[in-house]
């Protein structure tokens, strides 16, 4: 048992010494289990720091095997009021583009640390998501939260990720790139949220990324999700007013559980006045939990960079195997192939990657 514990600690240490990706969020788990985001995460819109149940899930239900009490007892709580957590992702990847030399490297994608301070239980708290590596510290989220994130209204104020569609772990997914809302693009403002029974809803008023340096406008984002044990559906909308050009977006997303398989789908449409174009993006994802601790992910994505132009669409297909042998450690291996217009080699790139993901 001691040897096993040492091995687990050693692996985590190796991971920490290597390199890491954006804050973790795997909505397929929520679809498989029929959970809302706030069941596992402190942040009611998902991602980042896990709560008591989220940690229990990570320790007991997710991995292929559990380990001894040392790891099993990690609660993230430094005190009754202060909880911390983190995600570290290190990978090796190889990118191949036609008629170009391939590029391969080890990379520390990201190491993030989260902290949540409860000032008044179930009412007032402060949440921080800080990227500490690579290359210096950078704040991603820092907000004060008032109200209930489990049943009733709450208010956030500060810097946070906007709620729009599936909060995917892959920030490069077309639906996250085209909308520009992902876990690398926090915004400053306020959010009013509502959680009750099967309903989750958010209304955000923020600066808008396009106005970050000019202070010329604002962004309004709203999202409503209805969650049932084996299915859910959500609708999201966003409008940005900016001197650079207004931007309006709409999205529909849904999840369905069929046996051990979670299905995720999202479709977004974006009208951007600054680019003078309307764009569209779609995602289909299937996650098959083969065995406890084993997941096979298949995604198909679609992007139309300009609806007014014919023959310019791009697609992307990914096959990813995720193995969670122990609590707080995941190994991922994947292959991705892009397809686009023949005259652009970049749109035919292939990616192979292996990733170690340590989290706590």
């Amino acid at each position: 048992m001691i040897q096993r514990s040492l091995l687990a600690a050693l692996i985590l240490t190796i991971v920490a010494l290597l390199r890491a990706s954006p804050a973790s969020a795997e909505p397929y788990l929520a679809v498989l289990e029929g959970y809302k985001c706030n069941v596992c995460h402190v942040n009611p819109t998902g991602g980042g720091l896990r709560n008591d149940f989220g940690l229990t899930y990570a320790k007991v239900l997710l991995p292929a095997e559990t380990v001894d009490n040392t790891l099993d007892s990690w609660s993230g709580k430094l005190t009754d009021r202060l909880r911390i957590g983190g995600d570290l992702r290190a990978d090796w990847s190889r990118e191949t583009t036609p008629n170009s030399p391939s590029a391969q490297s080890f990379a520390l994608e990201q190491f993030r640390v989260y902290a949540d301070l409860t000032i008044l239980p179930d009412r007032l708290g402060i949440y921080v998501d800080e990227q500490v590596a690579p290359n210096g510290s950078q704040n991603e989220e820092a907000y004060v939260r008032y109200g209930s994130t489990t049943d009733g209204f709450y208010l956030k104020g500060g810097q946070f990720y906007l709620p729009f569609g599936w909060r995917l772990q892959d920030q490069t997914a077309f639906v996250r790139q085209v909308t520009g809302i992902n876990m690398t693009t926090p915004d400053k403002g306020v959010e009013i949220g509502y959680e009750h029974s099967a309903w989750s809803a958010e209304f955000d008023l923020t600066n808008g990324a396009a106005n970050a340096s000019t202070g010329s406008g604002y962004q309004v984002v709203t999202q409503v999700v209805y969650t049932k044990p084996i299915w859910r559906v959500g609708i999201a909308g966003s409008s940005t007013q900016s001197n650079a050009g207004d931007r309006h977006m709409g999205g529909l997303f849904a999840g369905l559980k069929t046996g051990p398989i979670a299905w995720l789908a999202e479709g977004d449409i974006v009208q951007d006045d600054s680019l003078e174009r309307t764009m569209a993006a779609g995602l289909l994802e299937a996650d098959w939990r083969l065995l406890k601790g084993h997941n096979l992910k298949l995604t198909a994505e679609y992007e139309d960079p300009d609806r007014a132009v014919r023959n310019n669409q791009e697609t992307r297909y990914s096959l990813v195997y995720e193995y969670t042998p122990l609590p707080f450690l995941q190994v991922r291996a994947g292959y991705r192939h892009n397809f686009g217009i023949p005259q652009n080699n970049q749109e035919h790139g292939q990616l192979t990657f292996f990733e170690l993901h340590g989290y706590f």
Partner: protein, 291 residues
Amino acid sequence: MNSRSFTAFLRGGVALSAALLAACAGNGEGLDANGNPLVPGGSAPPPLSADFESIQENIFTPICSVCHAGATAPEGLRLDAADSYNLLVGVPSTEVPSLDRVKPGDPTDSYIIQKLQGHAAVGAQMPDGCPTTQPCLSASTIAFIQQWITNGAPPAAAAAAAVNAAFAVTSIVPDSMEPVNAAPPQVMVAFNHDLDVSQLATHSAHFEKLAPAAVPTVIEQVPARISVSSANLRALMLWPVRPLSSGHYRLVMDATSSAQISDIAGQQVALGAPDERGETVISTFDVEVQP
């Protein structure tokens, strides 16, 4: 897994496959390499590859020079086709001066890569924090720039071919009374031939701040440091030894300095034009530092 699960996955896979077939990639007919409709009679930029001309046409010009152009270019870095190479290769970045913007052969220590990948020590990830209107460059796109740097960051083929033309100044930045909205880190004088750096010691210059009057009156002199990067022998850099405050400036060769500069073949060209007092003026510009 059991047969029921397998059947469910198979059914889903069939549905997914059907959706995929319905959502094929475009065939590119009637489009250029960037996916834009071809303009009759127009010429499309070359597909992105690891050479400077392609990077300029596919990345710097359409994406970066939206902001990095003209007198208001951030950090004085102009990424238009005329100036980008000379202001990138072998030029220290203004945010982290210990790092060159492009260090030939070393993409890891090239500041442009750090800025594009979002792990530079200072400032936002480029392009401009990756707003919704301009997402970050993909890793595969950045890889082309990395490969160009690894290859030694050679100039565009057209620039290399200019060696057969007469030795000449091709651009001066800033110049022609341009109003720049921040103190320029340097004045860059670009040439079409490699310079003879062994003669640099014979040149000296200074910045003159002028009072607004019918006859220009010098109210402050700021010495200039002259350098040519070994990574780019076609760009002469003149650095003020201290930041320039707001005002009207000109860059003047010292009276004791040679007004001519030589290329490696011995051809000479004047660095500037003589003014009414016989001094050689290289550049004039206005600094309008924002409060």
